[in-house]
Structure formats: C-alpha cells, structure tokens
C-alpha cells in the first residue's frame, strides 16, 4: 500500500505527483526527498530514506528506483515488502514505457495526462488494481503524444529496448520505441514483434589465467505490437538442457542451471520439442529467465595476456597487454573498453597500439583503452609506459616482473551482437494467428551478449 507516487527528473524537477491516500504532507515531500538524496555522500543513492526532520510527514519511507534518468518514487508509512514495491515500481516503468513509447523526461512531460490516467487505473487508494496491459487498455482513452514520426530506418535513436548497454547501436530499428497502444486507427499497419535474447556475462579470471567464476544471466524478452490474443510459438535450440543431469541430443548440448518462465507461458511442448507457447499481451514481457554458472560450452570471448615490468628504482612502469578475441571469425565485439586501475601518482603515459582506430588515455587513476570493433579470432596489443614517481618501494633495485600494488584488476566491457554465450538460439518464432489480412507481421529476433563484469586479475 503506497501513499504517494511521484516522478522526478534527474535534476530534481517534479514531473508527476500523485497522492493516493491524502494522509501526507503534500508536494513538498518530493522536494524533501530530492534534498535527502543529493545530501547522501554517494552519487548513487541507497534504496530508502526516511525523512529525519520533525514535521507532519515524519515517518514516511521513500522507496525509489532509477530508470532511464528518472526517479520513480513511492512513499509509504507502513512496513511493507520491499520486493513487491520495487517490482511494482519497475512494472510501472515498463507500463509507462509501453504507453508513452519510451521512458524519459521529454516523453513523460509531453504525456502528463496519459500518465495520470494510467496511475488512476493501476492504483486505487494506494492498492494495486492491475498492471496488465490487456485489462488496462479498455480504460485508457488518452492517446500518447509522440514527438516525431517513427521511421523504420532511423537508426540514430534509441535501439534495443531490452538491455541497458552503453550504446545500443546494434538494434535493427527504432520501431521498438513507439507506444504500444497509442494509435487505434493504424493498428493494422504495424504488426511487429521483437524478440530479444539478452545475456549478461560476469567473469573473473585469476592472474595465472585460470577461470575463477563464470556467470551468465540470460533473458528472453518480447515486445509485441500484435493485437492481443494472438498465439505465438517460440522454438528454442533443441539441445537445450536444464539442470546438470539432463542430456539431450548429441554433442555438447546447451546447458543452463535454472530457468523460470513468465506465468503466461504454456509449457506443454517444452519438454518434447523445446517450444514455448504463449499468448502475449501487447507490450513488453520477459518470457524466460535463465542462469548458468561455472560451465560455459563455448570458450570465453576474450583472453588477456598482460605482462608487467616495473623498475622500482626509476619508478618506470611498463605494461604490455595482449588481447585475444576467441569468438568465431564471423562474429565481432563492439565498443570494447578495457579499464585498468593504476597505482596512485602515475604522471605520464606513452603508448604503442596495434591499430589506429584504438585509443588509450589516463583518467581517474586508471588507464582506459578503447577498441571500437574487435573481429573474432583477432589479436590486439598495446604497450603502455608510465612514470610512477610517488611509489617508493622497498629498496630492491632493477626491473622486476612483479606488479606494484594498486595495479589492476583489469575489467573489460563489450557487446557481442548476434552471439549468446550459452549458445541458446531462437530457432523460430511462429504466429499461429494471422491478423486480418493485409500484412505479414514483421518479426525481429535478436541475440546479444554484453558484459556485466569481466574482470581479469593481474
């Protein structure tokens, strides 16, 4: 049960404010919240704050999430479940995204009426009524205001809706960021389905090259613009096994540890043919989530071979990094960035890089090496020389191979379009139901892996 809900822009402007129960101070609560938030030492805030000062709304708990630069905040005076509330807030974010096209300061302020209407229907006196797009569409009358017409070939704007990657330039179209339910009139025109398989990879490699931890968090996300009630079938790789013991097909198979499905998925064909059957509501939905740890079927996408020379006497530090990409030759990695923390007091950097499109620079006590594009099977290298005068080590003179304290661990961030680390692929996406005549629905199936934490100790 929540008392108030409001949306703040990243600068603290109140975009939306709704009081559900009338038991609290009013709009200045939002300002109070922002003051609290910016008063915290850390740039990223903790999940909850209470107003400490004396006042009418003394015992209010603020619970907020940050989503695409906005703060979605709920206040409550009860000791309620944080999990449910956080889930509700992120569901609200998805809903707003569905109705307004995409979530952002501009879209929200253009669609204030629609947002209030939506909030009215979703929550009543602070209790959740429904968050299903299907039910809600019967009650929502306001049309979303869209800033510009969407063109299928406009590649410059926001891309992949699922993953929050650094630059999502890999998406085939920006059509995913149009409102789901806005245009009742031209509903038949754009029948599109987006299906994304997104994997987040976290890896930890020890300094001797042995693998300490691999963790893959995968999701199959669907955004459907089809009229609801249309059934679809998603075929996954047939060798897909769940759990350690199951064995399917010949060869290594594709194995995950745990799977969970959205409640609207029918699993009657899953056991036999690995087919997910569902009738998705319009909008966004996570069809399946899976995890895989410690046992990756394919080799890791990147290997780093560092060698460090440190001359204690003169304070000269030389780091030679060799990065090998073990993807299949046809694939490539995009936006690769290597981040290597350095000892304090590094003053200068000289570099020799293996190709001209790379860039390396010092910043915030770390070395940043940017590689915009790395082809599978290729090998890149960089030689970096630095002066570290402020690091007087023990008097052992001469060059030594051991790294000084404060160097490393290196972390990589990257995106791998058309590649999944677990090997899971969508074989097909079939729509059982052809919406009345005119056009075949467009189906977009995309695969993407990106790094969550790819850490290599030195």
């Amino acid at each position: 049960m929540i008392s108030q809900f409001f949306i703040l822009s990243s600068k603290g402007d109140l975009l939306i404010y709704k009081d559900f129960r009338g038991d609290s101070g009013g709009r200045d609560v939002a300002e109070l919240f922002y003051r609290k938030l910016t008063g915290l030492p850390d740039e990223s805030p903790v999940v909850m704050v209470t107003t400490g000062g004396r006042g009418h709304h003394d015992d209010r708990h603020f619970i907020h999430i940050r989503h695409s630069g906005l703060y979605l905040v709920a206040t409550t005076s009860e000791n309620i479940s944080p999990f449910s509330l956080l889930e509700l807030l992120s569901r609200l974010a998805t809903l707003l995204g569905d109705y307004c096209g995409s979530l952002g300061e501009a879209t929200i302020s253009r669609n204030v009426a629609l947002v209030y209407e939506l909030l009215d229907e979703v929550l009543d006196y602070g209790y959740v009524q429904t968050t299903s797009t299907e039910v809600l569409r019967n009650f929502i009358q306001t049309e979303a205001v869209v800033s510009k017409p969407f063109s299928l070939f406009d590649l410059s704007s926001v891309g992949l809706f699922g993953a929050e990657t650094q630059q999502s330039k890999v998406a085939p179209s920006s059509a995913a960021s149009r409102p789901v339910l806005s245009s009742r009139s031209d509903q038949s025109q754009k029948n599109e389905v987006f299906l994304d398989v997104v994997e987040r990879l976290s890896v930890l490699i020890a300094s001797n090259g042995s693998l300490l931890k691999v963790d893959v968090q995968g999701e199959i996300r669907l955004k459907s613009f089809l009229p609801s009630g249309s059934e679809m079938r998603i075929g996954l790789t047939e060798e897909f096994c769940v759990g350690k013991s199951e064995l399917r097909g010949y060869g290594p198979g594709i194995r995950v540890d745990e799977v969970s499905f959205h409640s609207s998925v029918y699993l009657d064909e899953f056991e036999s043919h690995r087919i997910l059957r569902l009738q998705p509501p319009q909008g966004e939905l996570t069809v399946m989530r899976y995890q895989l740890s410690d046992d990756l079927p394919s080799p890791l996408p990147f290997r780093l071979f560092p060698s460090v020379q440190w001359d204690r006497g003169s304070g000269r530090l030389q780091v030679y990094l060799k990065l090998r990409c073990d993807l299949p030759p046809k694939s490539q990695a995009l936006n690769v960035r290597l981040h290597l923390p350095l000892p304090r007091g590094v003053v200068s950097l000289s570099q020799e890089l293996s190709s001209p499109e790379q860039k390396a620079e010092l910043g915030e006590g770390a070395l940043r090496w940017d590689l915009p594009r790395v082809q599978g099977g290729s090998q890149l290298s960089g030689l970096f020389q630095m002066d570290v005068p402020g690091l007087p080590g023990p008097p052992g003179q001469g060059p030594s191979a051991s790294a000084p304290l404060g160097l490393g661990p290196a972390s990589l961030s990257f995106e791998l379009p058309r590649h999944t680390c677990s090997g899971l692929q969508v074989r097909f996406l079939r729509l059982a139901f052809r919406p009345c005549g005119n056009a075949n629905p467009h189906k977009w199936v995309r695969h993407l892996s990106h790094s969550d934490a790819y850490v290599i100790r030195i």
């Binding site: 990223s44 989530r289 304090r344």
Partner: protein, 571 residues
C-alpha cells in the same frame, strides 16, 4: 472506478479475508482460506497480498499447518521475487516450531535470492543482499559455497559494493577464505577511499578468525604509504591487538614507519594507543611519541592529546629512562599552556597521580585489561530464525536492525497519544489467537508461577551496571563436588532460559560465573556462582531488580535443580 484486479471470486475472497465478522467466525474464515489457497488465477500483486493476509491465520493443528504448507509450496517457485519472499515469510512464521522445515524453506529460496542478488535492477539487488545478510546471521554457512556471487564488479554502485563486502565477511569459512581474502585485497586499492576502507575493515573482521593470512595482507597494505589506507589499517591493528593478543607481535613489527602517513584524528589515536600499550616491544616507540610531543602545539584534535598523555605515561612505566624528560615536557605543556579544559584536567590528574606514588600510578594505568580468568562469552552470533522471521520481507533488513530501532523509537513517541485508541478499535489488526491459546495465556499469570522469558539478552556492560547497583537479595550454598564443566552448565542453564553472561575457564580457582534471567513481568534476576577450591560447595548470590519473595523463591529452586542435576552427573 471498477475493480480491475483479477476475477470476481478473488475479489470476493479478498473482501472476506478483510472482514472482521468473518475473521471472528473461525469456521467461515477457515473455509475462505481453504478456497484462497486453492486458487491459482491471481495475478502476482494479488498473490503477494493474500500471502500477507494468511500471516494472521494460526492453524489449529499440525495437520492443517502442513496442509497449508503443501498447498502453498508452488508460490515458492513463482517468477516474481515479491511473491517468493512473501511465501517464504509465511512459511517461516507458520513453521516456527519446526526448525528443519524452516531450514528447508531457506534452502529453497536460495536460488531466487541469489538470482535477485545478480539482477539487473540495482535496487532489487540491494534489497536481496540485505536479506541474505539477515539469513546469514542465523545460518552462517548458508551461502558459503556461492561466495563468488558476492564478488563486486567495477561498475556497481557503492551501496551494493558495501553490502557485498559485508556479506563476504560473514560467509567466510575454511574452504573459501583464501579466495575471499584475495578478492577483498583487490578492493583495498580501489579508487574510492570509502570502499577501500570498508574492505580493509572487512579484512580486519575476518582476521579475528584467520589471523595469519589477514595480518600478512594488512602489513602489505602499509607498504603503499597512502594516508587513507594506513589510517584504517592501524585502526584495525588496534582492535586486533585488543581482541586477539596472539597477533600483538606481528602488529608491533609492522608499526614502525606508519606515523609518516597518518594525518587524521582516528588514525593518530590508534597509533598512539598502540605505542603506549605495546611500546615495550617497539624499539623506536619513544622517539615517535617524542615527535608527537614536539608538534603538540599545532595539534588540532583534543582527543589525540588525551591519548598522547595516557600513552606517554604508560610508556614511562615500562621505559622510564627514555621517557622521563618528554613526559615532563608534555605535562608542563598540558597544564600551563593548553586551552582545552578536558586535556588540561587530564594532565593535572596524571600529575597528581604521579605525585601520589609511582607504583600506585602504574598499578592503576597498566594493570591487566580485565580479570583474565573471566572471559566474555562469544557474542551469540547464531540467532534463531524465529528472532527475525517477522521482519523478513519488510523494510527492517533493508534499513538494518539498529537503524530501524531508532526510527521506530522516534515514531513511537510521537504516535502513542492519538493512535492507541485506534488500534483498540480494530481488533483485526493483531494476529488471531485461537481460543484455546488465549485461555492458556491468561491462565499463566494467575497461577503466580515463575515464567522466565526465552531469548532474554543482556549485554555485559548492562549486567555490570545493574549488578553493582543492586543489593544481594539471597545467598545460599549448594553442595558441589569436583571440577566444573562450563559448557555443560551453560547448556543446562540455557534450557531453563537463564543466560550466561561470563564464566571462568574450566579448572580456574576460584571459579566464577555470572548469570542473568528475566521473567515475564520484566523482573531481572542476576546471579553470581562462586566455587572456592577448598570447601566442596558452590556459593550463589542472587540479586533481583524488583523485590518479590515468591518469584525469588521459585527462581532459586530452578537454579538449585539445575546445579543439583549437573552436580549429580559429575559425581
């Protein structure tokens, strides 16, 4: 506005569950619950809400209880974390008398919790980590094999990193200690000073169990010569030297040279304290302190000056020749020139103490830190699941128990006036106690019997204070033969809800123990057991916070039974 939720049946059921009349009629309420449990057509919000309603219901029999648990089992596998946590809480509370069921449930939610911990939503991840810490308080080994999931990644926000470090610190065991320490060592050189210091403190925490490995890492960190690292390392050294005397030697070897890299008050205090107390083993201790004395005029923190006074005086007792001169200078400065009254008074106090006689002053300042035969029992870290089951899936773990307590205290004061009658008007808000139970609860106070409350916790300081302020209410002597086995005695006392505050080691003479207990009216019983080696008897002295002879008598009879039983086992 129309109710949009789920189907009509569900709506009706939800209404029924909230209706006080139906709640009052147990049969009707029960049938509603049966129907609720059997439904699966609720959306996740409805499920979470219904699970919350069910918390109020107390099953009549064990059979019914397990019936409910079986029917609700599927909720534990829901894809929504809110529902899973709601179900977990319900299970923990319903099965409060079946610890193995509780452990089983916690095993089952391990997967969902770990998934939430690595979820893409930072906020959800944070809430999950807080709950992991909560579980670890009761089941320390629960997540040990998944320690890698709690390694921090570079891009995570601060509040998550700090939580993860705490979790790592708590789940460490013999198998993973090497890996965890390696990981934590990497954090110590992090760009963010706060995070680096948190990691160092975590290593200091682990050092209480795995001293050698941690000492090595901490000593290495000193080699970095960075202020923010050195100061925290020295502070952990101070705590270690106090808590684990066996590592004093290593600390003393590592200390020289640190003084150049410490600028803040906390770090200086820790260093000066260490130099004062263990100065005998650090060759250059007097010279380091002398530097501090020379710069005392420009010192800004009074706390550092106080610490310096005490340290120099302590060192003077162990190394008089080197310290006499500088002690004189420091005392002169503090008494004549210092403007801070507390420092000045402290200086005067030490000066007069020295006038009273060197040996007396030494006895006062350098006597052992506490009675070595008395050791504080380890903080009972493994709290039972039931102590936090009610807080599970609420905001309490997210705020942290301590912070929540202060929060609710502030609120309580302001709200008591107007809100009390309100709660009385809603009989439904409290848990529904079945009629038989109610009768039993009412019966007990009438009979005048003594009821010691379980899980009564009194801190050692609190005990000491109360003990000194009370008079002995009763003294008695029980026959006793042979040696005492403290563990057995402590176990036996725990069975009858008597808490052991402190106890001598087995074989010490004279042997002492301090106990405490509290009855349901809030009356405290504090007890001292004393076993003189010569005569074969145990002397007990009981102090009581409220003078009531009947309860005192029954308490003593309880104690007598326990001691009699233990004595019998011995002989």
């Amino acid at each position: 506005m129309p109710y949009l939720g789920s189907e009509d049946v569900v709506k009706e059921l939800k209404k029924a569950l909230c209706n006080p009349h139906i709640q009052a009629d147990r049969l009707r309420y029960r049938s509603v619950i049966q129907r609720v449990i059997r439904m699966s057509k609720l959306d996740q919000w409805g499920q979470a809400e219904v699970l919350n309603f069910l918390l109020r219901y107390q099953p009549r029999s064990e059979e019914e209880l397990f019936d409910i648990l079986n029917l609700l089992d599927s909720f534990l596998k829901s894809s929504s974390p809110g529902v899973v946590m709601g179900a977990t809480k319900l299970f923990l509370i319903l099965a409060k008398k079946f610890p193995h069921v509780q452990t089983d449930v916690l095993m089952q939610v391990k997967g969902p919790l770990l998934a939430a911990c690595s979820s893409e939503s930072r906020e959800l991840c944070f809430a999950a980590l807080c709950h992991v810490r909560q579980i670890l308080h009761s089941l320390p080994g629960h997540f040990s094999s998944h320690y890698k999931k709690f390694f921090c990644s570079y891009s995570e926000p601060h509040y998550i990193k700090l939580q993860k470090v705490e979790v790592l610190c708590e789940l460490v065991n013999d198998e993973n200690v090497q890996q965890v320490l390696e990981e934590l060592r990497g954090y110590c050189t992090d760009v963010s000073a706060d995070f680096a210091q948190a990691a160092i403190l975590a290593i200091g925490g682990i050092a209480r169990t795995y001293t050698d490995q941690c000492m090595q890492i901490l000593t290495e960190l000193l080699g970095l010569r960075q202020e923010h690292i050195t100061t925290v390392v020295v502070q952990t050294f101070r705590d270690l030297a106090w808590l684990c005397p066996q590592c004093t030697e290593a600390v003393c070897q590592a200390l020289p040279g640190c003084e150049e890299n410490i600028q803040d008050s906390e770090g200086k205090q820790a260093l000066i304290w260490l130099l004062g107390v263990h100065g005998k083993r650090i060759p250059n201790a007097p010279y380091v302190l002398e530097d501090f004395i020379e710069n005392v005029k420009s010192e800004t923190f009074p706390a550092v000056k106080m610490e310096l006074l005490t340290a120099v005086l302590r060192l003077f007792f162990s190394r008089p020749a080197e310290c006499q001169d500088m002690l004189g200078r420091l005392l002169h400065y503090c008494i004549e020139e210092e403007k801070d009254m507390a420092v000045r008074d402290r200086g005067l106090f030490y000066y007069r103490l020295l006038l009273a006689g060197i040996s007396e002053a030494k006895q006062i300042l350098c006597s052992p830190k506490s009675d070595p035969s008395l050791r504080l029992l380890e903080d009972q870290a493994e709290r039972p699941v039931n102590s936090w089951a009610l807080d599970f899936n609420t905001l309490v773990p997210v705020y942290g128990k301590a912070r929540w307590a202060t929060l609710s205290k502030c609120q309580g004061v302001e709200h008591h006036g107007p809100e009390l009658p309100n709660t009385a008007a809603f009989p439904t808000s409290g848990p529904l106690i079945p009629e038989e139970n109610k009768e039993r609860v009412q019966e007990l106070p009438d009979s005048g019997a003594l009821m010691l409350i379980p899980n009564h916790q009194l801190t050692a300081e609190c005990f000491e204070k109360t003990w000194l302020s009370l008079k002995v209410a009763h003294q008695q002597v029980f026959p006793w033969q042979g040696a005492v086995h403290p563990d057995t005695l402590q176990m036996a006392l725990q069975v009858v809800n008597i808490q052991t505050i402190a106890m001598s080691r087995a074989g010490t003479q004279p042997w002492k123990a301090y106990l405490s207990a509290q009855d349901d009216t809030g009356c405290l019983f504090l007890t001292e057991l004393l076993l003189e080696p010569a005569n074969l008897q145990m002397q007990i002295s009981v102090k009581q916070s409220e003078a009531r002879t009947e309860t005192l008598k029954s308490f003593i009879s309880v104690l007598e039974t326990v001691i009699g039983t233990i004595g019998d086992i011995k002989s």
